[in-house]
């Protein structure tokens, strides 16, 4: 039966695509035109996997046939697995029917490389084109750019897709050489560069002519795999920073390596997925993009690895006690954002509320500040803020003790012996 065949393909090709972690469907501003189907703006997570990741797009490979042999990839040429390939129409039907039922925000289409880069890319583009032109589909489309695809195809891809991405895969060139001998970093950087320039050009055009067509309105992103090669967090974040700065990337995704293959170049199969590290990298990335931190403040030669016990902002704060305390009722928002336990929304609320009256610890708590962390770094109207002259190490001990054993009283006085 046809349904069974599609089900089998879907199982194989969704399974093969799932290790690509980027799932964002936001950042576009495609409107629903002429009463068509869908729009794309603030991406919605329609569901969550049992591992807690957002399901927002139909994320599949067009095919898992591949001529390359990247060590970390389940679809590699020499891996003995079931292969499958969708037809263009099958992908279109799945997307439209899932979308109409409000299962998804759109399509994230990637592919193994069959024949060559252009041949593969051309298929991906054809699907996006069909969705846009034949089905008046305005939902989100993310296409993976195949490394080495021609500028011409990349340009066409940008006309139909909201986002394009080339995965760097490994944080450094050396790592890539080791694990993906068929790939070369320049082949990844070229399309990125092309897209960057094209996006700048088209944005200028759009300013002049409102009617100019959209070109990859959600920009480009990339993914690096963490923990398959021995790069430090400093190397990972430096490289992310470089790509943010030089290629106007919207997002860098960090994907903790899931050991799926036995290979002497890779961590053993029983290695656990570095989920805490991955989370810390995202937090650090967040600090660089929204909290005004410079990458060197987070990781540097003295501190090449992120602290796994505590978040990178707290880690920075206890290394820089000279920057505190910060007066909540007076300080600039940029400084308030640097206080551990104060997020973007709380910082904005603080700045609004303090115009009416000075804020106390209690009020800060209500506003949403995590007092157990923030109190060591601030002064406010109350008298209860920390007055002892604590070292960064003391503070870390206190905070860790509190968060691990909330139910044991008096831990604090015991720990102060250290």
């Amino acid at each position: 039966m046809i349904a069974d065949r599609i089900t089998e393909k879907l199982n194989i090709l969704a399974d093969a695509a799932k290790y690509d972690v980027s799932c964002a469907s936001s950042g576009s501003k495609r409107k629903n035109e002429n009463k068509g189907l869908g729009n794309a703006s603030n991406g919605i997570c329609h569901s969550y996997t049992e591992d807690g990741r957002c399901v927002s797009l139909l994320k599949i490979l067009l095919t898992n046939h591949c001529i390359f042999d990247c060590a970390y990839c389940v679809s590699r040429k020499n891996n003995d697995i079931k292969r499958a390939a969708f037809t263009v129409q099958e992908v279109v039907d799945l997307t439209i029917n899932f979308y109409r039922r409000n299962y998804i925000e759109g399509l994230f289409l990637s592919s193994g490389i069959f024949k060559d880069a252009d041949y593969t890319m051309e298929r991906l583009v054809r699907i996006a084109k069909k969705l846009r032109t034949e089905h008046n589909f305005n939902g989100y489309i993310h296409l993976k750019s195949i490394p080495g695809a021609s500028d011409e195809l990349m340009r066409e891809a940008g006309m139909y897709a909201d986002r394009l991405s080339v995965n760097l895969e490994m944080p450094t060139e050396a790592g890539l050489k080791l694990l993906a001998p068929d790939k070369n970093r320049q082949d990844m950087i070229d399309p990125m560069n092309f897209l960057k320039n094209e996006i700048i050009l088209r944005t200028e055009e759009k300013k002049l002519f409102k009617k100019a067509p959209l070109f990859a309105p959600a920009g480009q992103s990339t993914q690096v795999i963490i923990g398959a090669t021995p790069e430090s967090d400093q190397q990972v974040l430096q490289s992310a920073n470089y790509f943010y700065k030089n290629f106007n990337l919207k997002r860098v995704y960090y994907s903790g390596y899931v050991p799926v293959l036995a290979d002497k170049r890779l961590p053993a199969l029983n290695t656990t997925v570095p989920m805490v590290r991955e989370n810390r990298l995202y937090q650090a990335d967040w600090l660089m993009r929204f909290y005004g931190f410079n990458v060197n403040e987070i990781v540097n030669n003295e501190q090449p690895l992120l602290d796994l016990d505590i978040d990178p902002k707290l880690s920075w704060a206890i290394r820089n006690m000279q920057a505190f305390p910060i007066d909540i009722n007076k300080a600039d928002i940029q400084l308030i954002l640097r206080v551990p336990g104060i997020g973007m929304l709380s910082a904005q609320k603080i700045v609004s509320a303090r115009k009416f009256a000075k804020l106390s610890l209690d009020q800060l708590k209500k506003i949403g500040v995590a007092i157990n962390r923030a109190r060591y770094f601030i002064v406010c109207k109350s008298n209860e803020f920390e007055r002892r002259d604590l070292t960064g190490q003391n503070i870390k001990q206190f905070i860790l003790a509190e968060s691990q054993s909330k139910y044991i009283r008096n831990t604090q006085s015991q720990l102060s012996l250290f």
Binding site: A3, K31, N39, H46, T49, N102, V258
Partner: protein, 252 residues
């Protein structure tokens, strides 16, 4: 302490505020319900909704709040959260008792509470935008049953209308017994007559032919994308609390 009993409408609530000021009732509690003259142990004041009085209060609010501020007040009340009327009335009184616009005075407990209420309502609205699962019926209408914690259906119209402009759809709140129907042009409120309310969530007899196939494919997709090595049930449940599961195709 006076207890004011009002009819649950926004106009009723504004009328109550009018009474509070006119009769100088400073310690009050507002409850929704029908006034019964037998409940005479405390001082109970029935509020008779009066559009003119309500409008006068609204006009007063307009002078002291931004448009968005008024809208937030309206949404907070519409959500029908239990026992939150008093926070809303407290907020309104704080507005009238201050000389300046106090919308952002988060140090004040009423302003903060209102902002929390709005946050909860927004989250519920977002959840509905995410968790609606349409089922295609034979007549090509896409039907979905939901049971939101708060009354948020009216807030969903804009999103679904602009997204699904080319298909007919119904989103039905089983808990509150009403829904929105979009007929390719406009939306209207409807109430459906289910002989057995339990069936409202599943109208399988009226499914289109391919509905079963796509539900099956979606469930398969959902299972395929899971990475067992990363299992994290706590996080999963925080994102999709169990009470939403019964209307999620992939979770049934």
């Amino acid at each position: 302490m006076y207890t004011l009993v009002y009819d649950g409408t926004f106009e009723g609530l504004l009328t109550a505020v009018f009474e509070i000021y006119e009769r100088k009732l400073f310690h009050v509690k507002l409850i929704k319900g029908e006034w019964r003259s037998t409940a005479m142990f405390e001082e109970v004041v029935p509020v008779v909704t009066d559009d003119e009085r309500a409008n006068r209060v609204l006009a007063g609010l307009r002078k002291k709040l931004s448009r968005a501020g008024i809208q937030r007040l309206y949404i907070a009340h519409m959500a029908e959260m239990e026992n939150e009327e008093n926070a809303i009335v407290g907020f309104i009184r704080y507005v009238f008792d201050s000389d300046q616009n106090i919308e952002e005075d988060y140090g004040n407990k009423y302003v903060m509470r209102l902002s929390e209420i709005i946050k909860m309502v927004r989250r519920e609205k977002h959840r509905m935008e995410a968790f609606v699962r349409f089922q295609k019926l034979k007549d090509e209408t896409f039907y979905s049953a939901v049971e939101p914690d708060f009354n948020v259906l009216p807030l969903l119209i804009r999103h679904f209308k602009s997204r699904y402009a080319d298909q007919k759809w119904i989103i039905y709140d089983i808990k509150r017994g009403y829904g929105i129907y979009y007929d390719l042009h406009d939306t209207q409120y409807i109430s459906l007559d289910f002989t057995d309310v339990k069936n409202a969530g599943n109208v399988i007899t009226a499914f289109s032919e391919d509905e079963g196939i796509y539900q099956h494919l979606w469930k398969n997709y959902f299972t395929s994308v899971n990475i067992v090595a990363r299992k994290n049930t706590k996080l999963h449940l925080r994102h999709i609390p169990k009470r939403y599961w019964r209307h999620l195709t992939e979770k049934i």
